[in-house]
Symmetry: C2
Subunit: 285 residues, 2 copies
């Protein structure tokens, strides 16, 4: 391919005044679903890109940071996570990581937009390789409604793998939703939600943590990890636990895990929970 | 200011096919020095930007990650770092962090391009606030020559705070330079060098580590940290030690440090040295 056929997909993140771009060969797909616009690009160095409403969702090359850190810290903290619910997560990468844990008996993915999953199957087939696992259930429905109607004390881990807190995902970042999740979790159950950039969105992280405590969660902790394709290149997830603390994890289990990861390991688990000085000060840890 | 007066400074990183940009109000300065081109921009959200040969060097907002992680891990590992040499580091931010350590008796900064420091004094005065410390010496000279001529066994910590391994900094990434540094260090002395992105430049990190061992260093370790303004938003520094290991650090000293930091603390020190699975595999740790 000649250089002249190359262009760049660039996401300008208005609220932080910064942008991240990737060199592309071609836009492979573009559609407007009932919920959002979805585009797929082929890039020169990052594999495929999925872009929703102009925001970079994932690339083939760097999604492992996010998917591993959204799933393994929670699953290696819970002593025996049999039933897992994923809210959002339509690209199926989190579902794949969850199902690497043999202890999991059922994993329900509740994605509002079926088109995200259908496009992931087409353009990110490696993320969808666990979709046919008999333990997996793919629902295309409203995650807020699903959690509100969920049987109380029935779930061990809830993972909220959503877009930013605007548009369809807005209702996933408030005390009402957290209260539904709290009720659905068994005692000792763990909630984890992507919580944006520690540098650009610390106020959001702080308000999420406060709302999680209001909803009844006993312990709340935030972890950080690199994520090159997201604004500032640095991202976070916030964990909360019902009726138990978040001070330890199954370190031996993580050290002897029977599956491969690219980012996560037992040392990274501890490292991710080590907060920088400015976060400690702002979050009061 | 109206929106129409805003534009973006964007650095396209050709070898990784990705770009990072910042929204700017104005370009405040531009010059060609005998060594390189230097530009200063005023940004909407990141303070001032310094750009050398088209590459983002630092922003007011996020330089704390880099400057803290280039200095405090080495200085809290060495039991008593009296004499420190900084190669490059013309913006003086590393010098400032080094001089926060009361144990340091002398810190020599050897920057090849005096204009970098003069522009830092003008546009990043907060980074230059330790320049008048009586322990500080600012030389404008060739760092390779300085280290080659340095008195043997005279230095406790060498910090190589340079641009990328092309152009003026190319000679700072090879065994000949590392051998000079090894000779100049006292036994137990520590060498630390910025070592690019763990995701985009792992081959460089691997060859640096090999060259450091060839030069005689007994222990070599790489640490990582977020750095939003650099390619992939994730960066590394590689440490090496003469005649001693790098397995521990003065944890109690870091916990009770008498100065403020924004990123570094004792927990972050340990966390930064915890390598992701793909780095462990590639680097053989």
């Amino acid at each position: 391919m000649s250089k002249s056929e190359q262009s760049w997909f660039t996401e300008a993140h208005e609220s932080s005044g910064s942008s991240i771009g990737f060199r592309t060969h071609a836009r492979l797909h573009s559609e407007q679903t009932p919920f959002q616009s979805i585009e797929i690009y082929d890039s020169t160095d990052w594999g495929k890109l999925m872009v929703i409403d102009g925001c970079m969702m994932l690339t083939t090359r760097d999604n492992f940071f996010y998917h591993e850190m959204m799933s393994h810290p929670a699953l290696f903290t819970h002593p025996r996570a049999k039933r897992v619910v994923i809210i959002g997560g339509g690209d199926c990468g989190t579902l794949r990581e969850v199902l690497r844990h043999e202890v999991v008996e059922s994993a329900v993915q509740v994605e509002i937009d079926e088109r995200v999953t259908r496009l992931a199957e087409q353009y990110f087939p490696e993320l969808c390789e666990a979709n046919s696992d008999p333990r997996a259930q793919l629902l295309f429905d409203d995650g807020i409604k699903y959690m509100a109607e969920c049987e109380p004390d029935s779930v061990d881990v809830v993972i909220v793998d959503s877009t930013d807190p605007v548009g369809p995902a807005e209702g996933l970042f408030n005390a009402a939703f957290y209260t539904s999740c709290f009720k659905a979790l068994r005692s000792g159950g763990i909630f984890v939600q992507q919580s944006e950039s520690p540098l650009a969105h610390l106020g959001l992280i702080k308000s999420m943590r406060s709302a999680l405590r209001t909803a009844g969660f006993q312990a709340v902790r935030t972890l950080t990890f690199p994520q090159p394709c997201y604004p500032t290149g640095w991202w976070s997830a916030t964990l909360a636990r019902k009726g138990a603390d978040l001070s330890g994890f199954r370190e031996r289990g993580a050290q002897t895990k029977q599956f491969d990861t690219r980012y996560y390991n037992a040392e990274i688990h501890k490292a991710a929970l080590s907060l920088p000085e400015f976060m400690r000060e702002e979050l009061g840890e």
